[in-house]
Amino acid sequence: MRKFLVRRLLVLIPTLIGVTLATFSVAHYIPGEPLAAVLGQRALSNPEIVARYRAEWGLDKSLPEQYLIYMGNLLRGDMGKSIRMQRPVLDDLSEFFPATVELAIGALLLSIGGGVLLGVVAAIKSNTAVDQLIRAVALIGSSMPVFWMALIFLQVFYAQLGWFPGPGRLDSALAPPPAKTGLYVVDGLLARDWEVAWNAFKHLLLPAVVLGWYQMGLIARISRAAMLEVLAADFVRTARAKGLRERVVITRHVLSNAMLPTLTVVGLAVAGLMAGAVQTETIFSWPGIGRYAVQSSGNLDFPAIMGVTLLTAFLFISANLVVDVLYGLLDPRVRAV
């Protein structure tokens, strides 16, 4: 197992280098005046700032040298300075990231729970009206623009019906709980401030549903297919033949085997959540990195958007690594390859 882990980590290195090469070259091939994109028009007219920036990023050196300097700065956590916020991009990211994590965890729990449940029911009732209904729910989920769904949910469930609180992470009358994890629900619970925790939870529900729906459809589809495949296996027939109750057959024999393929989609789901967060956070005024990315790109704040790009790529790669490792833990056959 350790060998497997080490090999997976080693494979990661070229990908990470490739990702930084990609962001480096996008940054390098900005048409027009690259410095304007990185520093902003106002700073560009100040020769002192320009000279300092050129020195810091080694812009007068050769390309490979520039890349090494870029990497060195990155490893020290220096992603440049956000033009809009006028402070290091890393500070912005660490401020906004916990909100995204909270939203993504909520959405992930909903989509895995709901998706597996729907997939299992669809497989057991395959080719019935229930199956068709679940298929429709999944297909609608993958056909609906996330930004539109978020908007309509907010208009209907908040503005018209008043069932859910409005945008943001907390009612404006409440103060955020003391930051330990950065997740308001968890922090509220830790501080034993039930009102804040409950309020944060209510604020979380609607955006989490919006964000998780797409992935839920995906997971439902995959787990349905996996369930059907296992249901047709010989050992299931044996289990039934020896007189086990259907519930036991499904939970013990089928479900545990069918969850393996589903696990691979969860890795993809994390990436999908990052993409969806861009849209969901914008509409729900959720102060996470998705909204930060949109605001930055609206202001052509190039260093900020590159920071988000790097961070999300890194997350995506890590999510896939975690899935791979889990897969190796659960299925010994994978390790041998």
């Binding site: 070229p14 990908t15 490739g18 990702v19 090469l21 990609a22 962001t23 996008v26 940054a27 091939y29 900005i30 048409p31 994109a37 395959s126 080719n127 297909l139 609608i140 993958s142 056909s143 609906m144 623009p145 996330v146 930004f147 539109w148 769904m149 908007l151 309509i152 907010l154 208009q155 209907v156 503005a159 018209q160 297919a225 059907l228 495949e229 047709a232 990436a271 999908g272 990052m274 993409a275 861009v278 849209q279 914008t282 509409i283 990315a293 949109v294 930055s296 790109s297 609206g298 052509l300 704040d301 190039f302 958007i305 590159m306 988000v308 790009t309 999300t312 790529a313 995506f316 790669i317």
Partner: protein, 312 residues
């Protein structure tokens, strides 16, 4: 390689004939290939959702082609007196904050979205599968480099990378389309490469080489035709995704610019109008219907072309 359609004796025999695990290439005669195509068409038409998908897309094509002749209102003509009026017999979908007719604007939007989805998906398809096919067929350094670039591109969430590219190149619909192609080609490259790899050592390729066919002829005449069907499925499903991505980019202000009647932009224009749901509601429904159409068709095609996914 199973090709099994319920209630069809002919296919069952083919199923056993093709179940040879050591040889992935079915030694099918021209006649058999033609018959298989026919079976795929029948399987496609048997699924109700595929028919619905085809009807939706045909309807949008008809609208996109004919709308200038029968549109009830000019999509960019303002009528401030009647602004924000709810759906009525004159304005079926109501009017927006400048009094423009939402119905006309939504229908006109198909003239942007439909060609955009098709063109961008086709551009990704052509560039990606060219890279994948040539790389997979020839192998070597070129293949290695191309696949690493594809891997790296796929390591970014599509919308985030697209946003970064547009921030660098400047907002606008053309740059958004280019960005979507840049984030979209690797999936085709990978798919096509995997297909070519599974086919390129087939007996018929050896035979063609033995009679002296050139490499490019082998690739085009003997390898690519066997790789088409998964790519067709992928491109249909991708058209829906392209549409979602493009409208999302327009929505956040990086794609289409006002007063263009682009659906994502139309939704954005109703964003602050919490009590006039029709302004963003109907354009969103339009996006959803077109994406659903593409997804239904793609889904039906996948079931028809590759019945392994449709376990009974």
């Amino acid at each position: 390689m199973a090709f099994w359609i319920p209630a069809c004796g002919r296919c069952k025999t083919m199923d056993t004939a093709l179940a040879e695990p050591t040889n992935p290439i079915p030694a099918a005669s021209g006649l058999e290939i033609r018959e298989r195509k026919w079976h795929a068409v029948r399987a496609f038409l048997r699924t109700p959702t595929s028919i619905i998908g085809v009807l939706i897309i045909l309807a949008w094509i008809a609208v996109a082609l004919s709308i200038p002749h029968w549109s009830p209102f000019d999509p960019i003509k303002q009528d401030v007196v009647n602004r924000l009026s709810p759906p009525s017999s004159a304005h079926w979908f109501g009017t927006d904050y400048l009094g423009r007719d939402v119905f006309s604007r939504v229908l006109y939007g198909s003239r942007i979205s439909l060609p955009l989805a098709v063109a961008v998906a086709m551009a990704s398809l052509l560039s990606g599968s060219a890279v994948g096919a040539v790389g997979g067929f020839l192998g070597g350094l070129l293949d290695e480099v191309a696949m690493r670039v594809a891997d790296i591109t796929l390591a970014f969430p599509a919308i985030v990378l697209a946003m970064a590219i547009i921030t660098a190149t400047g907002p606008g619909l053309e740059n958004a389309m280019i960005a979507i192609v840049i984030v979209g080609w690797p999936q085709y490259a990978r798919l096509m490469r995997a297909q070519v790899l599974s086919v390129r050592h087939g007996e018929h390729v050896v035979a063609a080489r033995a009679v002296g066919a050139s490499e490019s002829r082998i690739l085009i005449r003997h390898v690519l035709p066997l790789c088409i069907s998964p790519v067709v499925v992928a491109v249909t499903l991708d058209m829906g995704n392209v549409l979602l991505l493009a409208s999302a980019l327009s929505f956040i202000g990086l794609g289409a610019t006002p007063p263009q009647a682009e659906w994502g932009l139309l939704v954005a224009e109703g964003r602050t109008k919490f009590y006039q749901v029709w302004i963003s509601g109907f354009p969103g429904l339009a996006i959803m219907s077109m994406v659903l159409g593409f997804n239904f068709i793609g889904d039906g095609l996948r079931d028809a072309l590759d019945p392994r996914t449709r376990t009974t």
